[in-house]
Symmetry: C2
Subunit: 561 residues, 2 copies
């Protein structure tokens, strides 16, 4: 297998008849999935998602793929293909369309409904083209064929992309539940047919490549929910993802069977389930839904509340319920079901909620004590099936951290793909498919693009570093006014601190030393405000470090009057 992070130069020109693939996100992280394919000077984009920030990126709302590589080539883009409607595959579309609004977007009916609703919030009306499994489309030089795949959202598609360079199969996110609720399985007969014709490059979901075996069928959750409902004689609150139509379906069915009614809680849950019901992806049993405002007319054992917040998001309904800070009050004896996986990194937040709910006397059912969630991504056993059915000539693991990509590549090798035909690449690495062989030929710059409030790309890594310092140490600011004529400090130094040493009298002893240092420097000829600021920084910084053993950010300002 190739090394995932060789020292790479800018790529050479793409040879005629070759296909170039560059991921602008999703290789080396779980999120912001986006791949750009180039053939004969034309571009095709597969997915454009967002990544959610970690705690080392404070204040950041979202992270986008880096569009820099294609920013001045927007007219070459034939289309965007969206594999499914999850945020990590569609969330970046509004930002990409700011560069060119009329790029055609292809996807399944539900996927396009979700992205259209999202674009409406950004006041963009997209140019869309609904496609279905089994259908083909020609967009410029790219021949597309769509293949049904099963995932934790309905209507997901894989896409086979054929050019003069051969055929690429991109799975999007998928798993191989053989008995899914809606009967729509990953189309292995389609995979087999494509395999017989020949797959030159297989771009395949790596998220669960480290997990041995097979994902439990979604259908097995129903009986578990039924069991939990049976044991509950008060309110039941279920938290999950707002796009997990099948999970909500199971909750509606179980509630219906137990004579309970379900109130949807939260904007995204109501919006998405509205879309899914309207398009026929969610079957709402007659009369099972009730408006949240009307639940007080029901007995507690007739109520189910379906909300988001299962990942510990502090502003979501569940977190506020756990804090006793939401109009829905959790009472002793209520049951709360977290019907979702615990995404790594969210443990503290989720356990804080579980502790809060248990403290209020709720019984909390979660992945740790009951089978109330299954993953949406193929495990190792399923991936091996795929490799054997497809027998791809080259493999490029996508969607995952380095450890996932490497694990997925190792599975390919186990099934007989030659190691030199497994391409391990990270974001920005340029892979060319030429004469039937895929190889790394270089790299383009591909950084993190931060969305913070309404600003995109304005928050830099250096600002994030400042934020980390501020969060760990706080800051001290020092103001002084200097009369340049007399060389005297005529006002200040005023010293104040935040995030540490809030009792500012601690600074009394350093103030005269700052004045002394400034006046001495002026006497020696220093006049420039910048110079004087550096002197204040040094005097106060040293003193804080020696006397208080801290290293806050020091922000000096000298004004000349």
């Amino acid at each position: 297998m190739s090394h995932p992070h060789p020292e790479l130069s800018p790529p050479p020109e793409l040879p005629e008849g070759g296909l170039r693939i560059v991921a602008l996100g999703g290789l080396g992280e779980v999120g912001r999935n986006m791949a750009v394919l180039e053939y004969d000077g034309r571009l095709l984009i597969v997915d454009c998602g967002v990544l959610f920030p970690e705690d080392t990126q404070p204040g950041v709302d979202l992270i986008l793929p880096d569009f820099e590589y294609i920013a001045d080539r927007m007219d070459d883009v034939e289309a965007i293909v969206l594999t499914h409607g999850h945020e990590d595959h569609i969330g970046g579309v509004p930002y990409l369309l700011r560069l060119r609004r009329d790029i055609p977007i292809l996807g399944s009916q539900l996927t396009l409904a979700f992205v259209t609703a999202k674009l409406k919030e950004h006041r963009i009306t997209p140019v869309t083209q609904v496609v279905k499994e089994g259908e083909t489309r020609k967009v410029g030089v790219f021949d597309l064929e769509f293949v049904a795949v099963n995932h934790s959202i309905p209507d997901a598609l894989a896409v086979a992309i054929t050019t003069g360079a051969g055929t690429v199969l991109h799975t999007g996110d998928f798993k191989m539940d053989q008995l899914p609720l809606d009967g729509r399985i990953t189309d292995l007969r389609g995979f087999a047919r494509l395999g017989e014709k020949g797959i030159d490059l297989f771009m395949v979901d790596s998220t669960n490549a480290e997990v041995p075996g097979f994902v439990t069928p979604e259908a097995e959750i129903g009986p578990v929910l039924d069991d939990v409902f049976h044991q509950s004689d008060q309110r039941i609150i279920v938290a999950s993802f707002s796009s997990h139509v099948h999970r909500v379906q199971q909750v509606l069915n179980t509630a219906h069977a137990h004579g309970r009614r379900v109130a949807l809680v939260g904007r995204s849950m109501i919006r998405n389930m509205g879309i899914a019901a309207e398009l026929g992806y969610l079957n709402v049993p007659d009369g099972v839904l009730i408006d949240l405002k009307k639940i007080d007319s029901l007995r507690d054992d007739q109520v189910v509340l379906m909300c988001t917040g299962s990942q510990g998001e502090p502003m979501a309904a569940l977190s506020r319920m756990a804090n006793g800070d939401h109009k829905i009050q959790v009472n002793y004896g209520d049951t709360v079901i977290l019907a979702s996986s615990l995404i790594p990194g969210n443990e503290n937040a989720v356990f804080r909620i579980i502790n809060g709910l248990m403290r209020l006397g709720a019984r909390v059912v979660h992945g740790g004590n009951a089978k109330v969630h299954v993953s949406g991504h193929a495990s190792a056993g399923e991936l091996i099936y795929c490799y054997n059915i497809l027998r791809p000539r080259n493999v490029m693991p996508v969607h995952g951290e380095v450890r996932h990509l490497i694990a997925n590549g190792a599975l390919a090798v186990k099934t007989g793909v030659p190691p030199e035909r497994v391409v391990l690449a990270e974001d920005g690495v340029v892979v060319d498919l030429v004469d039937g062989k895929a190889s790394v030929v270089g790299a383009v710059p591909c950084g993190y693009v931060y969305v913070d409030g309404t600003s995109v790309g304005e928050v830099s890594d250096s600002e994030l570093k400042d934020r980390r310092i501020l969060s760990e140490e706080g800051f001290v600011s020092i103001f002084a006014v200097v009369d340049t004529a007399t060389g005297k400090v005529i006002a200040g130094p005023q010293i104040l601190a935040r995030g540490f040493a809030e009792d500012e009298s601690v600074f009394d002893e350093i103030q005269p030393k700052v004045v002394e240092a400034l006046e001495e420097a002026i006497a020696k000829g220093a006049t420039d405000a910048h110079q004087l600021q550096q002197i204040m920084r040094r005097v106060v910084g040293r003193w804080v470090s020696n006397r208080l053993r801290r290293r806050p950010m020091i922000v000096p300002v000298v004004v000349e009057a």
Copy 2:
């Protein structure tokens, strides 16, 4: 079971002949374990540990138990009993001894060796008394009996405390490995004997109460290590906790069997293993240890490096190796073993390291793909054994978050302890054992005490809130000099920002408005600097919110000249 967080008032006076128990840490969190027992006006302390901060407590080094409750009663303290040598049980001792240096400390040989080494760094020489399993001691009104327990550090002890109010058994941390490496099992015969005499209150470790079944024996790790060593023909790096003597023992043994030599890396690892070897808890096979400086004389397949950093601590050796930022270079084909549990909350940091090591080409063996770690805490199955052997009259789960305490209480009830005899309490809750019944009688204040650098208790929750705001939004400071005689702004406003909008020209447009607002206010009679500062805060705050859609901390300073 009692409710863990009733609305509680200060407790009434302790009735004569009653025993009072107050945990100043460890109930509601995993860490800073400390219990204070009071009988006849005298106090006994069991453990005094630290808690490590979460990401919502930026810049905090440690969190201590809140000593406030006993601060003015230090002369009543008969002794501190330490159950074992882990930081979450001994780390707070140096801070407690600042209140009174000569409190006698009782503990096993290894525990006292660890705490003495720690106290030496704080330049404190403690008054210690070594005790052994099976021994009894009388300290004032408290009759103590020590019982061997098995844990992830050698020489751990449970303690039975008898007063006129009855007998309390406190387990400390423990599990019930029936075939431990050193043959020292949790003394269930001792438990049985105490049970026959009668346990009035059982204070019992809750950490793993949610985990069904039994902990795998430590001895089963040896063969797994052996296997990994067999498959490795380059360097092997093992990361674990610096106090896990038995784990290090297994690494030494396996290395010896494979003709490899082990270099210990890191101050705490070298110090602790030095102590353990000197006291006979670690048996170092002849010639297996080698100084880190000398490993270059060995072939790669003769080397094992034993280090810390398995929890992703950014400054530890392992993290720096993963970043290519340590003198020990990780090469393609090296093996890295993370022989420790993944403590919840550390996932991001640990996976960042795993990704970094795999990117360098290392094979990484960890709990997710091999049985290279077992927990040190009794699982549900073991706890049930204990309850059945002891048949305690009252139970008070200790050491855990709310969810752990509740799960442990439920196990007690399953074995026949009446629910009203299970006391669920959080930090500061006062539990009295009177006439054979334990009950919650009130609460005392018990907050988090933060250690940040050399300061203890100086960082407040409001400062941490400031730090969180700073980390998410950055700050804007505004400085102006006002001539009170003329009512004019004679210097400034100087506006600067950190953590957002580093290009300060963005503030050009607001500067004249600040001047205008200030001069208008002065014209209307405002003279007080505080008043003028509020005006600057309002003007700039509104503008930043409307124009830039951000909510940074706003720090205004007006100086009158």
